[in-house]
Structure formats: structure tokens, C-alpha cells
Amino acid sequence: MIRFENVGLRYGLGPEVLRDVSFHIGSGSFQFVTGPSGAGKTSLLRLLFLSLRPTRGSVRIFDRDAATVPRTVIPAMRRRIGLVFQDFRLLDHLTTFENVALPLRVAGADESSYRNDVKELLEWVGLGDKMWVHPPVLSGGEKQRSAIARALITKPEVLLADEPTGNVDPPLARRLLRLFVELNRLGTSVIIATHDLALMEQYDARRLVLNNGQVEIYD
């Protein structure tokens, strides 16, 4: 599904932030990406999400070479990947319902065709009563669940989550992890970038540990 081979990445003429990174993300797999701050986690996620191209090596996503994939094809590939940000990236002028429905709306779907799916998903993440409010009145946990629901609404093949528990308390972090595990059981490959050792200890999964731009894999 996703394969990195000897991938190197540098910004401009600066030093390499990723060096000789090689790994494979299989269909239906679950992994944590971890490492100290500045180790290259965010850069790795950006490569996975096609918002950066590698300086060297090969990144293949859905059997396409990320270095040469045409710009016009990228949106369709991104629709197969769900993305959850640490800072949520919800649009404040849209309601929770509209934020979650955004990926379907930009894909051209009619509101009547997805209304029930969005409502069901919001009930599933425990936001059934917050459907018509705007993000500024949601708590941190509610925003995070909205962001996760937005990433899941298109039933993506891969879910990338950047510090999804960074802004929530431990009980909610456990609840969100259960959500990701449940999603993985339904067939989605899950990649969670996190510093949170306690979170990783709760679920026995593959770990990709980044250190000084290089990756070590613990299966």
C-alpha cells in the first residue's frame, strides 16, 4: 500500500531531516510512529500525505511514485487517506456537521446523500448533540473527535493521525485509541504519530522509531 525505500529529505540546501528511511505499510496494519521532537515525524507524515516529495529514494503510495505523480492526481489520492491534526484544523465558520461532511462536499456529493452517514458517525464519536454548533464552543476533546470523524467519513484506506491525543486527558485518549483500533479492525491501515508512551503501552502494535532522521522498526 505504502512503501518507502532509502528515502532522504532535505529542505532547500539544509541538512537531511530524513535519511535512508525504508519501511512498508501493509493493508489493514496498525503502527505508531514515535521519536523525540525534531526527529522528523511531521516530515514523515507530510511525505505520507503527499504534501512533500522526497529528495532522494522512492516513496510509493497506492502503487504510484510520489516523486512523479502529477499534481492533478494528488486530490484523488488524498481522498483515500484520512488525516487528523494535533491542532484539529476545523473551520470555525462551519458547524460540526459541515466540518465532518467537508471531504464529501468537496468530492461533489449532494448533502441529502451523506446526511445520515454524517449523523451516524457523529453519534458514534459521541457528538450527536453537538452537530449544529460551531468549533469555538467545543471542548478540546470534542474538537479532536470532530477532526477524527472528518478523517473517517470517506472510509479511507489509510488513517494518519498526528499526536491525536496531545490535547486530551488520559481517559479520552484511551477512548480515542479504542476508536482507532475499532477502525483498524474494519480494515483501515492506521498510522499514529505520538510522543505518548502511555498510549503506546495500551496497545501492542508495530513501532517506527525515528531518531536523527533515521528509522528503526520494532515489530
Binding site: P75, R79, L91, H93, T95, W132
Partner: protein
């Protein structure tokens, strides 16, 4: 609904636009578009008025020629005029020939020479107004007159026609250049406004890209926003211009009290905007809205490529 408006118990009646309406310098741009639309409609109306008047003048002048008889020593002016009127009346294609009476000629000259002079003593040419059909042979009429009345000359107003046509063409050209400049200035303002709106909505654009929106979708959202704004602004400017046209037409219908006003009215027919002016204003409003929307779309797509 603005950001931070709070909880809502019931589902919204309509879907919020993806580009927040208040995020664009809306009022400023709306005012600017309204002013541009007003100016564009004025120049279109000016062109329409000039074109209408020029056509009317040309039609009137082309329907009529003038025979001028210069008085000479010992000439029986009245008999010569009567002879020339007979020749013209009997000529094929001439509808009528009417000698302008001495008193009318005197009245025409009075504003320049004053009423105290004894005008009858001056060698003033006598005029005969001849109404003609379009296919009349003016060359043959002139030759016949030269033969029978040597002091008569025929004026077909060709010089006037040429000058009027040239003036009308120049005025139309000037009006179109002004219109083009207004459109160009509006487009440039929209480029700046679009770039500003995109900078202000960078987070929205990023999120749209992350959820798989294509550039065309993002461009369409901004284009819709600017099309609505353009239609509203251009409609306001065009509406004010149309109100002005109606006011001018109403004022033009009021009878003037002085002879100068009557003369101006006979020349210009009152400053009334015809159907062409109103149609032109409507087309201008639509054209301006389309220019604004297309400019916004092109700018968004170009800026997205730059961001990438």
C-alpha cells in the same frame, strides 16, 4: 452565521459557504464595483446618446439639400428664386422645394447681427430648402440649376455629414476606451482583493487541500463568492445610473423657457437615454460581474499553483 456564534439546537436551513463571506474586504470591494459599474454605464449611455443623435442628424440632413442664390447687381431676386423653385420642384425625385422667406432669413441672422440693422440692404443669399428622395441625381440637378440660374449653387451637406460621422466615430471610440479602462481597473482591483481573500483564508485552503479538494473546486468557491459580490455591486452602480438616466429623461421633457433652451433641444432632442442606453447598462452590469468572477477564478488558480 459567523464563527463563534455558539450552539444551535436545530439543523441550519442552508449550508454555510466554504469561503466565509465576511473574510473578504466585502464592503470596500462592493463600493468600488458599484462606482466602476456606475462609470461604465455612464460611458455606455454617452456612446448610445451620441450614436442615436448622429444617426438622427444624418437622416435629417441626407433627406434635404439647400439651393443658395447669391444676389447680384440688378437681379430680380424674387423671380430668380421662383425660377429655381420651379426647376427643383419639377426635377425627378424631389418631394418639395420651399423658398425661405426674407423675413425668416432675417430672423436667422438676428442673433449675430442684431435687430437694429437694415438687413434687407445687405446682399444676403436666399435659400431654398429641397426635400429629396434617396435616389435623386443631385449632380444632374446642380447642372440644371447652373444652366438656368447661374448664381445658384447646390449644397448637399456632404461636408456636414462627414464631420458628423467622424465626430460620432471618435465619441464612440472614446466611450469604448473608457469602458475598457473601467473593466481593466476593476479586474486589477479584483486581483488584489482575491489575493487578499486567499491570504486571509489560507487555513481554509489548506484544509480543503487536505480533504482532497481539487484546485478547480477551491477556485469555484472563490469564484462564486466574487460573482455574487460582483452582481450585487454592479447592480447597485447600474441601478443608480439607470435612475440618473430616468431623471435626465424626465428633466429633458420639461419645456425650456428661453430660446437658447429651445435651440439646444432642437439640436440634441433633450438629453434622453434611449433603449440602447438601458440595454447597454444591463449588458455592462452582467459583463462586469462575469469579468470579476473570471478574474477571481484565474487569480485563485494562479495563486494555488504558486503556493504549490
Amino acid at each position: 452565521m459567523t464563527a463563534g456564534a455558539g450552539a444551535r439546537a436545530a439543523p441550519p436551513g442552508s449550508i454555510n459557504p466554504i469561503v466565509p463571506p465576511r473574510s473578504v474586504a466585502r464592503r470596500t470591494l462592493l463600493t468600488l464595483v458599484a462606482i466602476m459599474s456606475f462609470l461604465a454605464c455612464l460611458s455606455v449611455a454617452a456612446v448610445a446618446i451620441v450614436a442615436d443623435r448622429a444617426e438622427s442628424w444624418q437622416r435629417q440632413i441626407a433627406d434635404e439639400v439647400t439651393i443658395q442664390i447669391k444676389p447680384t447687381e440688378g437681379m430680380d431676386v424674387e423671380a430668380t428664386v421662383a425660377r429655381a423653385v420651379d426647376i427643383a420642384t419639377l426635377f425627378p425625385g424631389v418631394a418639395s422645394a420651399t423658398a425661405i422667406a426674407q423675413s425668416e432669413s432675417t430672423a436667422l441672422l438676428e442673433p449675430w447681427l442684431g435687430s437694429g440693422l437694415e438687413i434687407a440692404e445687405l446682399p444676403i443669399p436666399r435659400l431654398i430648402a429641397v426635400r429629396i428622395a434617396p435616389d435623386v441625381d443631385l449632380g444632374a440637378l446642380a447642372a440644371r440649376l447652373r444652366q438656368e440660374v447661374p448664381t445658384a449653387s447646390l449644397d448637399d451637406h456632404g461636408q456636414w455629414l462627414q464631420r458628423l460621422s467622424a465626430m460620432a466615430r471618435v465619441m464612440t471610440l472614446v466611450g469604448l476606451v473608457v469602458l475598457g479602462l473601467v473593466f481593466a481597473a476593476t479586474a486589477l482591483c479584483v486581483v488584489f482583493a482575491t489575493r487578499g481573500a486567499m491570504a486571509g483564508n489560507r487555513n481554509v485552503i489548506e484544509v480543503l487541500h487536505f480533504v482532497g479538494a481539487e484546485d478547480s473546486y477551491v477556485a469555484r468557491e472563490f469564484q462564486r463568492h466574487f460573482l455574487l459580490l460582483g452582481l450585487k455591486g454592479a447592480g447597485i452602480g447600474g441601478g443608480i445610473a439607470v435612475a440618473l438616466f430616468l431623471g435626465l429623461t424626465f428633466l429633458g421633457r420639461l419645456e425650456g423657457a428661453t430660446p437658447q433652451e429651445a435651440q439646444l433641444r432642437s439640436l440634441f432632442g433633450g438629453v434622453a437615454v434611449g433603449v440602447n442606453g438601458y440595454v447597454g447598462a444591463a449588458v455592462t452590469v452582467l459583463a462586469l460581474a462575469v469579468i470579476i468572477a473570471v478574474t477571481a477564478r484565474v487569480t485563485v488558480r494562479r495563486t494555488l499553483r504558486e503556493i504549490d
